[in-house]
Subunit: 316 residues, 2 copies
């Protein structure tokens, strides 16, 4: 019997990624014994060439980004990542080297983040490469951080620096120079903030993927609070700062940050700084939530409101 | 703050499908308390317009097919379906009616099969509609049916009728007439065999999605056995029989059946017939496994070997 190309491709490139319960990716479904006394946390994201990454992006970075955007969602809930399923739709003329690179990127990040592949599907497509990944993690019961838990007077914190991803996309499109390569790196390879302890510290949280202002607006709506931030407090990388003030709005509203945005009660701020220090993850206080209509107010250092032309990124 | 179209679209069409743990589809991730003392069974399938369905197929049938192909995978493992995550990538000019129809199809099948939506992602694509669904179910620990458990002398059984899906595709392409509409229905809307008790009955199983002969070959390889079937015993629908003997090879090797293919030890055959009768699912014995090289032998009614031009369907 001739083994069709689809199966040998899975065998060569994806089988080495498989978890024990994946049954060598040779069965219809995978098996997973859920960790005892834990609640599962699940997320799924799609990535399409030409929308979420560039068709000529290195395939190992595409694989890592696919995994990392989902790891970022779980990190924002305080969950420990465990395993994933993935579907991969590629044009028929996709070279085998693309699959090899894609799988190598996944393998590297599986080792970094302690996750493995449970199953999935490979198909052809007449369109661009279309990827989808479902990531499963776990938390102690009733400890998952939600968007809806922020309270009046909670501080607004972000991890890392904001805006690099959006500026990196501008670099990739030839609209901005990037002497250090930092911005392009940040666009191509998110750094999910896995490992930051949030349970008992953050009252609400999410990851910044659609732009800081829009995503902060989501917490405002879910928690029925106003958010007030000071633009000058938003942490920027040296490379973002070097781009100049004309790019500030892009930093505040662009997507692809994959940093965490957290609401933290005043009496838990010290615990946050301690947890961040332990995890080696920088955190910065950029404002506070307060009672009021669910909206985001941005002020300059001297207290003037800052008006933006766009609120964030939507795929539609 | 302006709510971008992506979010209102999710709200209108997908939120009514959401499970409790989906947090109204307003968060980064979903929560799921795994059923106590059960093992999880997980599967993911992608569907691309122009490959797995036709671009002008009714959107409610597309949604139902997406769910049902995954339900079929879980049915083949003997698992009870529970919940799913889904990613939906659509061209920017996709009319809202498409989403409404797609969601209506999912809603209908959620009610039929007792599953609900946990989460996912919607994005745009410059290519065809690309869908991915991850379905989660559960079984009693160590009872999931695998492809690898068939033994010498086990009977080979299939549910329902074989070949209708492949013939339905030929109908859709204008290559075959279908006076009753049965074949096209079967292509567009699989009937996953959820509810057939397999634990303690089948020694191996899978669903027939890539063609009976190829899929039987998968069980042979996983179980290291030969399979011998009699072509005349393979159950065909009246509509498939009416297509005539020229289409027999298409029935045996075409895909999209979504019936179950089972290995059943002789002393469990009565139990299978009883379970099938209880579930209202027809089952037919079409041959047996025996020691020998992992290959599929097909014989005519008078014992002659039947040679096929193609072994099955691969997406590559």
């Amino acid at each position: 019997m001739i083994i069709p190309a689809e199966f040998s491709l899975i065998a060569r490139h994806f089988r080495p990624l498989a978890a024990a319960g994946a049954l060598d990716l040779k069965d219809d479904a995978a098996l997973l014994t859920p960790p005892a006394e834990r609640e599962l946390v699940l997320t799924a994201d799609a990535m399409v060439a030409g929308v979420h990454f560039l068709p000529d992006d290195p395939p190992d970075l595409v694989g890592r980004k696919l995994l990392r955007v989902n790891l970022s969602d779980l990190a924002a809930k305080g969950a420990v990542p465990l395993a994933y399923l993935m579907t991969v739709s590629t044009p028929r003329d996709t070279p085998e080297a693309w699959f090899a690179g894609f799988a190598a990127g996944l393998a590297a990040d599986q080792a970094t983040y302690g996750v493995s592949l449970l199953g999935g599907d490979t198909t052809s497509t007449p369109g661009p490469v279309s990827l989808s990944l479902t990531l499963i993690g776990h938390v102690a019961p009733d400890t998952a951080i939600r968007r809806s838990g922020a309270r009046d007077d909670d501080g607004i914190f972000v991890t890392g620096t904001i805006g690099d991803g959006a500026l990196g996309l501008a670099v990739a499109r030839g609209r901005l120079s990037d002497p250090s390569g930092h911005l392009l790196d940040r666009y191509r390879l998110p750094q999910p903030r896995v490992g930051l302890t949030l349970a008992g510290i953050a009252s609400a949280g999410m990851d910044v993927s659609d732009g800081l202002v829009q995503d902060l607006g989501h917490i405002c709506q879910a928690s029925d609070l106003a958010a007030e931030i000071t633009a000058d407090l938003v942490p920027l990388s040296d490379a973002a700062r070097a781009a100049g003030p004309a790019w500030l709005e892009t930093c505040l509203t662009g997507g692809d940050d994959y940093e965490l945005l957290l609401a933290v009660p005043p009496n838990r701020e010290a615990a946050l700084y301690h947890a961040a220090s332990t995890a080696g993850i920088p955190v910065t206080r950029i404002g506070r939530f307060h009672s009021g209509p669910a909206e985001v107010i941005i002020r300059t250092a001297n207290g003037e409101p800052l008006a933006l032309n766009r609120g964030g990124w939507s795929h539609f």
